[in-house]
């Protein structure tokens, strides 16, 4: 058995130690070498400080952290008998801004991680400037986000009971124009067909009609045998709701409900990242999990044929861009700006509570737990999506990404599979 080391530059850095047996990868140790101690910093602070501090865990999915933090407080208030009801407007604005964050992430991952990495894996480099494409659409969609949230990254515009912004129809029109611009990019560059027609595709047999960068990538992934690689446990979990996502877990073809109480975190040897499991089992989280549990016809059909292969996983994420663009536009159409923005008296505070906020971040389910005693945070727990996908696993089974990489013929191939999970190390090693 030989061991080779690889340093991955993702959002931050991860170190991978590959073990080889009989010429293929037999095990992988994933290590993160950074620690900031955000959970520790939150202790003894005022509960609402989490709204300012937690987004700063991550420069890519900061908005998801804000949403999880505000939901944790709201759930804690509710548990201690305070009525927290959001107006449909506040709810829709929160979902809209979160959808924008997911879109910018997925597109950047496609153009700045997957395509360049796949090109170097296959040795077929194109002369196109993929980074520019990524920056064009992510700039556009985060502008739409900033109309409601003030800035991206690191906004704190969501507060218990709603949002602080009070948009006018002019703001909504501006945001709509930006979403439409992003849709045009999706249609022309990514899939080469109108969004409506694209969303009408519901079976793997029509997959070939997709053109553009996504169509080309799918074709080449297929040719490179990526529909037969990257298989893992084929078990999925989703905790967040909204934007068309539903919570639940899927094993084989059975979808059942989940309870956040069964989520367990544990320390891992020689890594600053904690492992996480559900009833001692490993689950994959992220766009593929969301599509399977929400029973998206096209992804279900693709999954039926190729299971949880790299190809299925990559396509599920690009497909989510189309779904979210559509939902983002719909959310603006139905937005009634005359409704209240925030419906909770700011003076109404609960001094002791335990709250849990779950949200679907770009990379999967994000969970915040806040325990407040005598008006101060006594304990704060942040469980990020990458922990689900990248943990080493336990005695009985390997972690999700580790299992997907086992059997790879080379480090390069394994590293490509690793990146198909859209890894974020800055979140993982808070």
């Amino acid at each position: 058995m030989k061991i080779e080391k690889l340093i991955e530059k993702i959002e931050g850095e991860a170190s991978l130690d590959f073990s080889f047996e009989a010429g293929v990868v037999s095990d992988v140790r994933i290590r993160f070498g950074l620690y900031r101690g955000i959970e520790q910093i939150l202790e003894k602070k005022a509960p609402r400080d989490a709204l300012v501090i937690t987004p700063r865990v991550c420069g890519i999915c900061n908005h998801a952290h804000l949403m999880a933090a505000v939901k944790a407080i709201e759930s804690g208030y509710r548990a201690s008998g305070i009525d927290v009801t959001l107006s449909p407007k506040a709810d829709a604005i929160r979902e809209f801004t979160l959808a924008c964050e997911l879109i910018q992430n997925h597109v950047k991952w496609l153009y700045m991680t997957v395509i360049p990495h796949f090109e170097s894996l296959t040795g077929k480099r194109s002369q196109e400037n993929h980074a520019l494409k990524a920056s064009y659409i992510s700039t556009t969609i985060t502008k739409a986000l900033a109309i409601f949230a003030g800035q991206w990254p690191h906004s704190s515009y969501a507060v218990p009971g709603g949002v602080t912004c009070d948009p006018t129809y002019v703001d909504v029109m501006q945001a709509t124009a930006l979403v439409e611009e992003a849709i045009r990019f999706f249609e022309q560059m990514m899939v080469g067909m109108p969004l409506e027609a694209y969303l009408g595709i519901d079976s793997v047999s029509q997959l070939h009609s997709i053109q553009g960068d996504v169509g080309r990538l799918m074709q080449r992934l297929g040719e490179a045998g990526m529909a037969e690689k990257g298989h893992s446990h084929d078990r999925f979990i989703v905790f967040g709701e909204g934007m068309g996502f539903v919570s639940g877990k899927a094993t084989a073809t059975t979808v059942s409900s989940v309870d956040v109480r069964y989520v367990e975190e544990s320390n891992q040897e020689d890594s600053t990242a904690k492992a996480v499991s559900y009833k001692q089992k490993q689950f994959e989280t992220g766009p593929l999990a969301r599509a399977i549990i929400a029973k998206n016809p096209l992804i279900k059909s693709l999954h039926k044929r190729y299971k949880d292969s790299l190809l299925t996983r990559v396509f599920a994420r690009t497909h989510e861009v189309g779904l979210l663009l559509h939902r983002a536009k719909e959310a603006l159409v139905h937005l009634d700006v005359t409704q209240p923005s925030c419906m909770l008296e700011s003076k109404l505070l609960s001094t002791d509570f335990e709250g849990v906020g779950t949200v679907e971040a770009a990379r999967g389910s994000l969970i915040h737990r806040s325990v407040v005693k005598s008006g101060r945070i006594a304990h704060y727990d942040i469980i990020v999506p990458t922990q689900w996908n990248l943990s080493h696993g336990n005695a009985s089974e390997k972690g999700v990404a580790v299992r997907a990489m086992i059997g790879s013929a080379s480090i390069e191939e394994a590293s490509f599979i690793f990146r198909s999970f859209d890894v974020c190390s800055v979140c993982t090693m808070q």
Binding site: L6, I7, G33, R36, I41, N129, A146, G162, S346
Partner: protein
């Protein structure tokens, strides 16, 4: 209000570091102009680094016309606090940004400043950033991985010895001998990595509040003993661009200034460029009129919020925060926190996370004014009295008196 309170409020609103001299007389600007001219001619003679795209070609490819570009150039000239006559020089400097190598490293960070940078503003300025600035190394932006990336960094350092601008994102963990943060195959600690790369840099630019003052990682109890770059790097010119995230306009501004003059911009006592941090959020706030009129948001979603009233009483830290957000705004100028009724959290001030954190209204918090002095509760400070009607106007009166004096001087 006692004398002491009066004086402390006055000193807060009239801090010397808050003064930025935007008119230094013709002789000064003529000399500077000549200096910039010579510098640009010198750069022009150099070949673009790393086969970067030619700026003129790339704006033409994008179908942008020169008018858009000049509009951006004149806005940037104003931002840098230079007279309008410098606009052609700034435009030229933008084109020459491909002559100055930039190395960008990430330490104890969240990659948020890189994210902000790639959605910088201007006429498709993302083109400028990604194609024109000679960004020799950036982990998040570059496709290279592993040993290949490390080699690229070593090559860049060697090749541009003494010439590159080192941009640092993230704080430096000093606890546990620096082992809270390591980088590369050999597990080099962040502090060693930074010291080594800073040694051969022309100047070090600390980007974001983590790199400048330690940021969120340095919040109490500062578990990793996180420090800002200026606390650990000695003997190099350091420019701090705090805020969380730092405003990309200010990052581009610093690079442009370096291209233009070959030097670093004028800095305040916290090493922040005065062109960006020479005035407070409050000075140019779009809601300022409501502060002056004593019209405040009392709680989220109330009538005041619907009417865009002043956010001071719900904890806005604009009056004590030096930054140009109220003018430059974020995300290509689309909006900024005060624009969505959230108020300023003071993210560009040292220790904002402990002293200014949003959900601790100023009236209850121990704060130290940016001007220094002893840490006091706001009641002792005098600002707590703002909750009493009419005191806002008293403060404003003090500020106006000073403003009047300032304009007489000019």
């Amino acid at each position: 209000m006692g004398i002491d309170k009066h004086d402390s409020v006055k000193s807060l609103f009239t801090a010397q570091s808050a003064k930025v001299n935007t008119n230094r007389g013709d002789a000064y600007y003529e000399k500077l102009y000549a200096q910039c001219r010579a510098r640009l001619d010198e750069l022009k003679a150099l070949a673009p680094l790393n086969n970067r795209m030619d700026f003129k070609e790339s704006i033409e490819e994008e179908g942008l016309d020169r008018r858009d570009f000049m509009k951006w150039a004149s806005a940037t000239t104003a931002m840098l606090m230079l007279p309008a006559s410098f606009t052609p020089l700034v435009a030229e400097a933008a084109v020459l940004m491909n002559r100055v190598p930039v190395i960008w490293i990430e330490l104890q960070d969240c990659a948020g400043n890189t994210e902000a940078l790639i959605r910088s503003d201007g006429p498709k300025i993302d083109e400028i950033i990604l194609d024109i600035i000679s960004l020799e190394f950036n982990e998040t932006l570059m496709a290279a991985a592993g040993h290949q990336a490390e080699k690229q960094l070593e090559d860049a350092v060697e090749h541009f010895k003494g010439k590159y601008l080192l941009f640092v994102e993230g704080s430096v963990p000093m606890g546990m001998d620096g082992y809270y943060g390591t980088i590369g195959a050999n597990g080099e600690t962040f502090i060693d990595h930074l010291t080594r790369l800073a040694k051969d840099a022309a100047a070090v630019v600390a980007v974001g509040s983590c790199a400048t003052f330690g940021g969120i990682p340095a919040a109490a109890p500062n578990p990793t003993d996180a420090k800002g770059v200026m606390d650990v790097v000695k003997g190099k010119p350091i420019i701090n661009i705090p805020a969380c995230p730092a405003n990309p306009s200010n990052m581009v501004g610093v690079i442009l200034h370096y291209v233009l003059t070959g030097g670093i911009p004028e800095l305040d006592s916290l090493l922040r460029p005065k062109f960006a941090f020479g005035y407070r959020i409050h000075d140019n706030c779009e809601r300022r009129a409501h502060f002056d009129a004593g019209e405040f948001v009392e709680e989220w979603g109330d009538e005041g919020a619907k009417n865009n009233f002043c956010l001071y009483k719900v904890g806005c830290k604009g009056p004590m925060t030096f930054n140009n957000c109220s003018i430059v705004r974020y995300n290509e100028g689309v909006n900024w926190p005060v624009g969505v009724g959230r108020g300023c959290i003071g993210c560009s001030e040292p220790d904002f996370w402990d002293k200014y954190a949003y959900e601790r209204p100023m009236a209850n918090a121990n704060i130290k004014a940016p001007t220094g002095g002893v840490e006091k509760s706001v009641d002792e400070f005098g600002l707590g009295l703002l909750t009493a009607a009419g005191v806002g106007i008293a403060i404003h009166a003090a500020a106006s008196a000073v403003a009047g004096k300032k304009s007489e001087e000019n």
